[in-house]
Symmetry: C2
Subunit: 464 residues, 2 copies
């Protein structure tokens, strides 16, 4: 098959041996696996050709784009890695329809730039934006910091194209906002983590670029106070809150320990990063002091919340540089989580009214298993999505699994999810077997068998 | 099986013979079929029991809730009708999380009332709101007049429960906004029109109730002018446009012929129903004249558009009664479309920048087939969704099919869809066979066979 792949793609597009090293270990260092080879097709036709060769050879195929996933979904032991990194074309932005066609290998940051050049935004963003690519973001239904206002990938992908297990091309490219023509295979593929098909292209929805942002770092006395503040800001602004990010004291402490600057002189139980995006024209006209109405609105709401003892301290970004600094604190999360020491990272979602209860329960549950463990939490409070991390005092695999189960079970017991936005991949397959509705697991297996009967696409991942 | 059904549900919950008449013909009079019987279970367990009996007997099952569909999806020839009309429980509204659990037989209007009693809204609405039920709305991924702001059912259903072909209960009830735990079976079931499972319950997302609406009927000189007005209103209000409904001259004429009042003394090529919903607190504070800022914003924008010759005439609703009157004109669509005369109703979606081209092409295409045919159009302009109707001069079935094909093919040639929100059912299955990507059709068949191997759920519908 390797020779055939070389004949198809050109010899330098098929890597073997030492050249495959970048695909043999994930960036967090948690997952390893030696691929048979790495194929780097440059077009949908080439992806289809690779799949046909792999199907004939019965060789498993794991599609990878940016390789920034956190659940080991892009690592294979002995299979073929199909890397989409060469497919980076960004179609012209359709300004009237506010859409753009992209290939799966487009880096998120490049898409941001292309949209902004036309006065629009592709609204999804997160720390790994300089490396993450659209194909993987679709395959994992990525989320990030602006889901509150704009939704996850599931809402931003209008159409897509995918290569199926037998090499056939499924063409669902569409720029339409409404399309009820049968089963929604697009939604089935989004979040399927490369187990049903390989996404090669997509039509994405763009949004008007907010003419201004009002951004603040806010210290609050409690989770409950933070959630009340969120409701007040949403009501005051009519839903213009773009981000409402959660950094409790344990996060700030660790960030400072890694060289970050503390946001306030005093320590607060919860620090929030709040951002409103001004999309209404009247919110974007600066006054004599150069401030837009949305800035004033945020300031007044924070002042009101301070009087109501919902807010202990707050600082508004007075410049784009200050705004960037505030975001840098939040976006350091991955960097201060994955430092080489043993780590149990999780990605739970809770109903908003059960968040405090989650923390009240999870810390004793972890302490019961490992009294010396330390923890870290950060997340998207507006979505009820918390990345709760345990740094165990011992590195045995079973111990890590027990800690992970304690966190996930605590979330599940409160009506929560054990995977809010990272997906299942390899690391959460056992949890899925334990916690997901058995009829749903059976349906997942049936759909997988129907669309990939030979089980070639990312085997051992995602599907129980 | 009938006896067993009676033993399971009680004798008066299983209808046969003349009692089945309401389920033997759809409300438009276009589709007919005599069911074997109608079963009316009152709980998920009873639905599961019915499915187990039907599976053992090899009897096809068509789930029906409100029976307001337009594509013949709820009509069976000889199969069992499973009516969800008794399952009407609306769980308590969770105000903090802005969610509610409902059963599949809940009437849309009852849900509206339950949400509004708690200061929230379930934002989907359309003409049939007094009859349509949630189960069918999920099964068809219903749309309606507020999709522009709030999305279709696909975006409003957070979790669901469904009974599968073998009677097993798939439990995906969840109030979470983020949940990436494997294949999204929820999205697969939404829009599957009863072919993969029977939706019995759902967790729905609610929205803050706009404290005020600014509503206007607007005459514009062209489609293009209307679309420009939409962009201006969205930019000015920051996306607070709730509805942007399209009633061209041919619609107004027919509405008037059926006893409606004309919106303006003069005739305009296009009449729009525009509604903004004030969700930002500052937009809801009335001034000395009792008008809220959003009213002023709409008035000023319309005045500016008038000066720019984008608007020819406009009237703002000065009271709730006037607002209702404006909506009644739009919601009369079904009533003036289905009057007993032969009718070819369609449901196309176009990219916004191809809408005018669609009309330029479709009218000659129809005239070429039937020079004496008359036509009607109405729709959701903000979504690019047009219900274009032809009243043919002859009633033969083949003639109707040819006219339908002419409309659908015209939309398809412009990158459009032949089913924006009504679904496939029986009436669009041939069109799907002709126009949908062959690989997608194959994938639909494979998924259907995987989840309903005996083909019991709504056979002959939706799946090619």
């Amino acid at each position: 098959m390797i020779d055939e792949l070389r004949a198809l793609l050109g010899p330098d597009r098929v890597l073997t041996g030492a050249e495959t090293a970048p695909w043999a270990r994930d960036w967090t260092g948690q997952y390893e696996g030696q691929p048979l080879a790495v194929a780097r097709p440059g077009s949908t036709e080439e992806v289809a050709g690779v799949m046909r060769l792999a199907a004939r050879a019965g060789c498993p195929v794991t599609a990878v784009s940016g390789g920034t996933g956190l659940v080991g979904g892009g690592i294979t032991e002995g299979g073929l890695i199909l890397s989409l990194d060469r497919m980076r074309r960004i179609g012209p932005v359709n300004r009237a329809a506010r859409t753009v066609e992209v290939e799966a290998g487009v880096v998120l940051q490049d898409l941001h730039a292309a949209a902004e050049a036309e006065g629009l935004i592709f609204p999804m963003t997160f720390g790994a934006k300089g490396s993450a690519r659209i194909g993987g973001m679709i395959a994992t239904n990525a989320g990030g910091s602006n889901v509150l206002r704009y939704g996850s990938m599931r809402r931003l992908v209008l159409g897509l194209e995918a290569v199926m297990a037998d090499g056939r091309v499924l063409t669902l490219m569409s720029g339409l906002h409404k399309d009820n023509t049968g089963l929604d295979l697009r939604q089935l593929l989004i979040g399927s983590e490369g187990t049903l098909g390989i996404v090669t292209r997509a039509t994405l929805s763009l949004a008007p670029k907010p003419a201004a942002y009002a951004t603040a770092t806010v210290g609050v006395p409690s989770m409950e106070a933070g959630l009340t503040l969120l409701r007040r800001l949403q009501d005051a602004s009519g839903g213009q809150v773009e981000a409402f990010e959660f950094m409790p004291d344990i996060y700030i402490d660790r960030h400072v320990a890694h060289g970050g600057t503390p946001p306030f002189a005093e320590r607060h139980p919860v620090v929030l990063l709040v951002e409103l995006g001004a999309t209404a024209a009247r919110d974007t006209v600066p006054d004599a002091e150069g401030r837009v109405p949305l800035d004033r609105l945020l300031e007044e709401e924070l002042a009101g919340a301070f009087e109501a003892e919902l807010v202990s301290d707050a600082v508004l970004a007075a410049s784009e540089a200050q705004r960037r600094e505030m975001w840098a604190r939040r976006e350091a999360a991955a960097e201060i989580t994955f430092t080489g020491e043993p780590v149990v990272d999780t990605d739970v979602a809770l109903p908003l009214d059960r968040l405090q209860e989650f923390f009240d329960r999870v810390r004793p549950a972890v302490a019961a298993l490992d009294p010396e463990a330390t923890d870290l939490a950060v997340g998207h409070l507006g979505d009820g999505n918390i990345h709760y991390t345990v740094f165990p005092s011992r590195s045995e695999r079973e111990h890590a699994a027990a800690l992970r189960a304690a966190v996930d079970d605590t979330a599940a017991a409160l009506g929560g999810s054990f995977s809010a936005e990272h997906g299942i991949g390899r690391s959460k397959l056992e949890t899925l077997r334990r916690l997901k509705d058995p009829a749903a697991q059976e349906a997942m297996r049936a759909v997988k068998a129907a669309l990939d009967p030979a089980g070639l696409l990312n085997p051992g991942r995602t599907i129980p």
